[in-house]
Amino acid sequence: MVTGLINENPIIYPKKERRVRTDSNNTDEFAAEPIDQLEIFDILSLDIKDPEHPYSLEELKVITEDSVEVDDETSHVRVTFTPTMEHCSMATIIGLCVRVKLMRSLPPRYKIDIRVAPGSHATEDALNKQLNDKERVAAALENPNLVEMVDECLLPSDE
């Protein structure tokens, strides 16, 4: 049995400086603003911790701003994440966390696709297929142990 972490020495990247959003013209709180890439990246990067280390996915460069593709008009978002190691067995948990976080943050009309960056994981195809199978995801989310792990990763970090 392997004891110890999958990735003992992760590389930590500096957090990106946040762009100031210039929408001072829009004072109507109820106007629906189209959801854009930066907003989704913020949602994902701030609040998801890596399952093994107390760092956010952004700090480990698992997700970057460019890894989010969103089209508000068709209500479609695709997140491509890069596990820190090619044989990372936490990849399914990370993918599930990303999906749950998006499901909880976006309007229900959104279709969410999650995948690993091409070439970044040994079992890329199998992983992608599993992460996007709605039935498997639903069944997984009814598994209390998995839900507990996901909730752990999604705990708000104290900044």
């Binding site: 297929k129 996007n132 199978d133 039935e135 498997r136 639903a138 069944a139 009814e142």
Partner: protein, 229 residues
């Protein structure tokens, strides 16, 4: 009939609200117009009826507190008198409407335990344990497992009987569609054909199969974004 002149298109007639979670499947009662069953992640099944006068739909019964997890699918028996529902909790329930004038009288007639995670459809069940189970209804509300069919390499997503022939089709996360039939009474069911990528099948999870009434056409849809007929 001037079919070509009419403007064919789908128009939403009514929105049926009541479920508190995703609705996974619906099934029309084959016995007559106006009855629909829906099953949901909220662990309940709802029966909807269309009023003859106003043509509007109302929820006539909520079948709950029986399944303990998402109800994944529901299907009516050909007579329309029985409804089978299957759930992630590993069971299939068969429901009967005891009093046809009182739709609230739908009760779980019997509960069959499979020991798998996902279970499907009337008189056959497929599941995350990669097998397909065929059940027979015996007198006095008993069910007997007639056969367990193994062969798929991954979870079985759906099964469907051919409308006229005694042939069973199953489709799976393993990208294939399998055809099962029983050559003779004693032999049991065997997989006689597997439709996979190499013989014009799909290249990803096959989610559903359906037949036209005549049974000479079958349609399948898949995660590979293709619908095949």
């Amino acid at each position: 009939m001037e079919l070509m002149d009419t403007n064919l298109g789908l128009v939403e007639v009514q929105k049926l609200e009541g479920h508190t979670d995703r609705v996974w499947s619906v099934a029309w009662n084959p016995a007559g117009d106006g009855v629909l069953a829906s099953c949901s992640g909220d662990q309940a099944v709802r029966i909807w009826e269309q009023s003859e006068l106003s043509r509007s739909w109302t929820c006539k019964a909520v079948l709950e507190d029986v399944h303990t997890r998402t109800v994944r699918s529901c299907a009516w028996s050909p007579s329309g008198k029985l409804l089978a529902t299957s759930s992630f909790d590993g069971t299939t329930c068969v429901w009967q409407n005891f009093d046809s004038t009182d739709p609230e009288g739908m009760k779980a007639k019997s509960k069959v335990y499979h020991g798998m995670h996902l279970v499907h459809c009337l008189q056959h069940a497929c599941g995350k344990d990669k097998s397909v189970w065929i059940w027979e209804i015996l007198p006095k509300n008993k069910f007997d497992c007639a056969a367990v069919l193994s062969g798929h390499r991954q979870d079985v997503k759906m099964v469907q009987w051919h409308p006229t022939m005694d042939v069973l089709f199953s489709c799976s996360y393993d990208n294939t569609i399998k055809v099962w039939l029983s050559e003779d009474e004693y032999d049991g069911y065997n997989c006689v054909q597997t439709l996979s990528e190499s013989n014009n099948g799909h290249s990803s999870t096959v989610w559903a199969i359906s037949f036209n009434a005549a049974g000479d056409r079958m349609v399948t849809c898949s995660d590979d974004l293709i619908v095949k007929i």
